[in-house]
Symmetry: C2
């Protein structure tokens, strides 16, 4: 592994390596080359992002079809930078021909906040006299300013400041001791930070003041637990091993596993990107999805009091799910036999950086895949399933999001997201009423209601790029009980509504009808069912956007107004809340609302993208504090009428006997794993 | 293990064993004793069920409180039998005093169909001249009657036959070869079987005839797969081991694991029953649920044509989730270190029988339990979770249901159900239109639309038996955008609706508001949040009952009309569709609709039961055939405002570093499992 990596770096340096796959993220070498080319014309820049400009789909589909006959798509770097004085500019760099092919200055937009941007703010607030004054008013002596912390958030949008100045809001906290969790000690005021001037330009101070919490610390680290009685000692280890190695193959970033083949990309904004996902159906390599990614998210908080309306982070568009990603660690985040991939980024200074082990790829046992027993003779088949998981974990200030892309042997792709980390908290006085906008999760700690709304970008490629979406609702048949067409009243069917144009596809979830959405290739019928080959989106955690129509969140997070939007494919439409999200006013709404336009564009039997917003509404409870046990949500992309039979029938069973074997007492297939054992159980008595 | 079992049997026989726990199912010895006592007065009986009559809750709560000070509840057998001539009778037998304490003959009811009842029918249909005639008409030579099979189903209710005669409907199939799956060869007629006379009394014959399918077999056993190219060979083993043993203790049938303690019962109807579930909250043993079980289910099919309206099996009430349970096998159904429990039943002749390994109890790794990284210095905690799973698999003719009761370290109880097995199928002619009521999953095979609706019986005991249910809906705050109370339009809150009386609690799911239900102890507030201690029912797979109001299913499956009903606790109310389900007409509706009565009973701050109907609507596709990859659904019982903090904080972390450790470069906690390894990946090239 280490050797391979050294070899790969050496190859990059000497140029002797095979060229990167066109979907591969820019390498460290390519990032530095892009910076060098930009610097030839633009000397003084702070870099915000240097990332792969993905090849045009049309060009790429051709190349994927016949890589040896087709010119390899160029490696293009997509560069965003900020010049001294705050001038934002962006451009495209052709890495092969070493030319800047596009460069422009932008007005009235702010690119996302990087980790470096975030890191600076805390140092500034600690030294700001007005902040110190407020800390003293909160009961913190000025010599304790090193105990004051802040989580710098994008400002959302504040009409008082607009978007010409690059701003952050500093959510303030106090730590009695450096190892205490500051989220038990929220402060009640909120400084506004100017990133260009690197100074505090304003402090929002509430009418009712709330001095710093006097409760004792509420920690989760080792010392704290030891003091409270120590760790439980009764959990015996579980070992998960693959003595013969893993079942997947890796070619660069292309993964080959159980008939699935796909490319694992990664960028600073979306994190993991899965491209060109195909399924080998008995020799026929069938495309399923051209591209899958988490494209955006928004976390609106529900406290109506100023300035909490500004708390509605777009964690991907405003911070970057790639930039915030964790370096994962063996036996902690991931158990078993693990393949990691690193991530390369640019820093402010234009150097390349690496997050080691940004992506984890591993297999897990998936329980019973299928089973059937014939009740006549107990002839039986039982087959265990396996899944392949491509995952990352990112930390968005207080919260962590664990993202798992799961491939199943039955042709299903699952996206599971676990939420953990720490609640965003605000100060409250003893006896103060939360008014229902939050929960006192610990004395003096108010955790506000909020939603976590994710936007999944699905670029379907169901046996080809020309697809059509149908809404499917489980619906009782026509006719009253006793009628000719429904004599017993038991009739029901799958009501299918075709989305012919963009306006028709603007749709909400309906739990009563168990609504799903079929992405179909209407040019191809399943030979048995005579229904369109399709993948079905099955998603059950689909709350309504609770901020009202016309509210700031509603305006800025246009994607979140509905569960599903469908647009015609466009290479430039990757970011459902706009390319540059911080400080957008929502007037006009960026991203999906722009692309919808008059809604008249045809989305029938053409290259389309389905945008799906899902998530949870989180009413905090003390159980979520001081660190929150992971809460999981999950959605499925299931093949329906895509295969002619269960595609996993050839997964070797653990046990299989047939009626004739039982009748003849002949040998049956017993391939049960011989490592599982009866438990030796101690008595509780 | 084997030795323990021998010892336990020996103890039972010699009477030297400790007395059973009052919740323990009847032992084989007790079953035979009950039969013997009944036979003293009632010589000629075919036994339908001999099961534990669970102790009265009032009595049992006292005993659980102070077992040493309280008389041990008597062991009572609940006996159901059928006398020659079809007379149904039932009674209670006091096993200690060896007396029949209640005995009565029943009119107009039919107890459930046992496996023995089912097994007989196929032999009868094969010999019936009218059935043979229909087979010949279908294209099956009469000398091939040994190739004719049937799945005997309860008849549902057919007004032509009523409920005084015990009936089954025989869903007919053909197997070209004994090892072929008959579900590819459904026959189009349906004999009606009289269980008392053991003869066919009628055959339902459709107007349009459909001769037996001419398609080639569609099998899933080893030979078939070998013929089609063989099994995939690229799945490497995953070994799951617990070298130091398991983390749970077993005392009889009481399981003790990670602060949880509960009794695992089992009966012929519900299968697994979990009783007296408590959580040890730092020394305080706190009750959570008195009893949890899957109490009923119904599978209505949506084809309106006669006689398909009769297909709406109540798999628990009409067949028994215990009676149909599989004997599980190590390394196949269950992987890792497994503790099994057997199940004892009575047979028709009054002998006791045993299903070995009916219940599986084991632990699994549960991924990240919680994690947080401080973005300032990368100090981090990551703790892996563990879960304990109590499971069974039962086979209901064509389908299998895998039931997993999952205990989590964060205080959550999860019920997961996997559906696998084989679709119920019906014949169709080439080119025939399914009219939307089904899918041609294989040439000549029509799989009808259907729902799987389960009824979970929740007997909450949230810090005591007096509980109250609140409906919780995520709701935008009052006031338009710009109003004084909601200036930014972002306000939202958890709207709580108290269910004071039974009629108010009749409620449906609402996906738009992410509706949940809180089971609260209103007599106790969380000391931090000042909210009622509670467990929340979080369930997202809650389709509407699609058969219409007034239809047969609607009348018979009253529990399925709504997602939630709440009733006042009653020892006699265990079966939401009635105690004897087969051939009920639904006039009047049995079970919950009876118990609701005028809806006026108070359910506020008293001993209550919450009945929750959930499930899926299944529109079949070829992917589900010839055997269906498991489809999973899941619901949660989550502690909210029950604990004062995350109750799993004392689970040992895999890795934990603090800011001061990082600053001082001092030793951090690294307890990552040392068995996980980097994958050695072969190249796909
Ligand atoms: Co949250
Ligand atoms: Co089904």
């Amino acid at each position: 592994m280490a050797l391979n990596r050294l070899k790969s770096i050496a190859q990059q340096v000497t140029g002797s390596s095979p060229p990167p796959h066109p979907f591969d993220p820019l390498t460290n070498v390519e990032i530095e080359k892009a910076v060098e080319i930009v610097r030839r014309d633009h000397v003084k820049l702070n870099f915000n992002a240097v990332t792969l400009r993905e090849p045009a789909k049309k060009e790429m589909l051709k190349w994927l079809e016949e890589p040896s006959q087709t010119p390899r798509p160029l490696r293009i770097a997509d560069v965003i930078a900020i010049a001294p004085g705050g001038k934002v500019c962006e451009g495209l760099v052709d890495l092969k021909n070493e030319t800047i092919i596009k460069w422009e200055a932008l007005e009235g937009v702010q690119p996302l906040i990087t980790m470096e941007d975030l890191q600076i703010v805390e140092h500034i607030v600690r030294k700001d006299p007005k902040v110190i004054e407020q800390c003293v008013l909160s009961g913190i002596p000025k010599e304790d300013m090193h105990k004051v912390y802040c989580d710098p958030w994008t400002i959302g949008y504040d009409h008082r400041f607009g978007n010409t100045v690059r701003l952050q809001q500093a959510l303030m906290y106090y730590r009695p001791h450096v190892d205490d969790s500051q989220y038990s000690y929220p402060l009640d005021f909120c400084p506004i930070y100017d990133a260009d001037k690197q100074e505090i330009i304003h402090i929002d101070i509430p009418e009712v003041r709330r001095p710093v919490n006097q409760a004792k610390p509420n920690n989760y680290h080792v010392d704290a637990i030891e003091k409270e009685g120590g760790y439980r000692t009764d959990i015996k280890p579980i070992h998960i091993t693959q003595p013969d190695g893993v079942s997947f193959k890796v070619d660069g970033r292309v993964i080959d596993w159980q008939n699935w083949k796909f490319h694992v990309g990664f960028n600073y904004k979306e994190g993991i990107v899965l491209n060109n996902i195909t399924y080998n159906d008995k020799g026929a390599v069938r495309p399923t999805f051209y591209r899958l990614s988490l494209a955006e998210m928004v976390v609106p908080y529900g406290n109506p009091e100023h300035p909490h309306q500004r708390k509605h982070a777009f964690d991907l568009g405003e911070y970057g799910g790639g930039y915030m990603t964790n370096s994962l660690s063996l036996g902690c985040d991931c158990k078993g036999a693990i393949h990691y991939m690193d991530a390369a980024f640019v820093n402010r200074a234009g150097e390349s950086t690496t997050i080691k082990n940004a992506i984890c790829i591993h297999e897990e046992d998936a329980g019973i895949l299928f089973k059937h027993t014939d009740f006549r003779d107990e002839s039986v088949i039982v087959t265990r399933g396996r899944k392949l998981i491509v995952s990352q974990v990112f930390t968005a200030a207080n919260y962590e999001y664990c993202v798992y892309w799961v491939f199943h042997q039955d042709g299903t792709i699952q996206l599971e997201i676990k939420l953990t980390g720490i609640l965003n908290t605000y100060a409250m006085n003893p006896g103060e009423d939360t008014k229902g906008w939050g929960t006192e999760v610990y004395p003096g700690v108010n955790a506000h209601n909020h939603q976590h709304l994710f936007c999944l970008r699905i670029d379907p490629n169901i046996d080809g790029p020309n697809n059509t979406v149908f809404q499917v609702d489980a619906t009782p048949g026509a006719g009253a009980v006793g009628s000719k067409e429904n004599p017993y009243g038991n009739a029901f069917f799958a009501e299918r509504t075709k989305y012919s144009k963009v306006s028709e596809a603007i749709s909400d979830y309906d739990g009563v009808t168990s609504r799903t959405w079929d992405m179909c290739n209407t040019n191809k019928l399943n030979p048995y069912s005579h229904k369109h080959v399709s993948y079905k989106l099955v998603s059950r955690e689909v709350p309504k956007l609770l901020p009202k129509e016309g509210s700031l969140v509603w305006k800025r997070a246009g994607f979140a107004r509905h569960a599903v939007h469908v647009t015609k494919y466009d290479d430039d439409q990757l970011c459902p809340a706009g390319r540059h999200v911080p400080q957008t006013s929502g007037e006009p709404s960026r991203g999906i609302p722009e692309w919808i336009a008059d809604g008249e564009a045809s989305i029938e039997n053409t290259d389309i993208v389905l945008w799906h917003t899902f998530g949870i509404t989180h009413f905090p409870a003390p159980e979520d504090f001081p660190v929150m046990p992971a809460e999981s949500m999950s959605l499925l992309l299931r093949p329906r009428n895509f295969f002619t039979k269960n595609p996993a029938l050839d997964v070797p069973p653990s046990y299989c006997s047939t009626p004739s074997q039982i009748a003849n007492k002949s040998q049956v297939l017993d391939a049960a794993d011989k490592v599982s054992k009866l438990a030796v159980v101690g008595s509780a008595a």
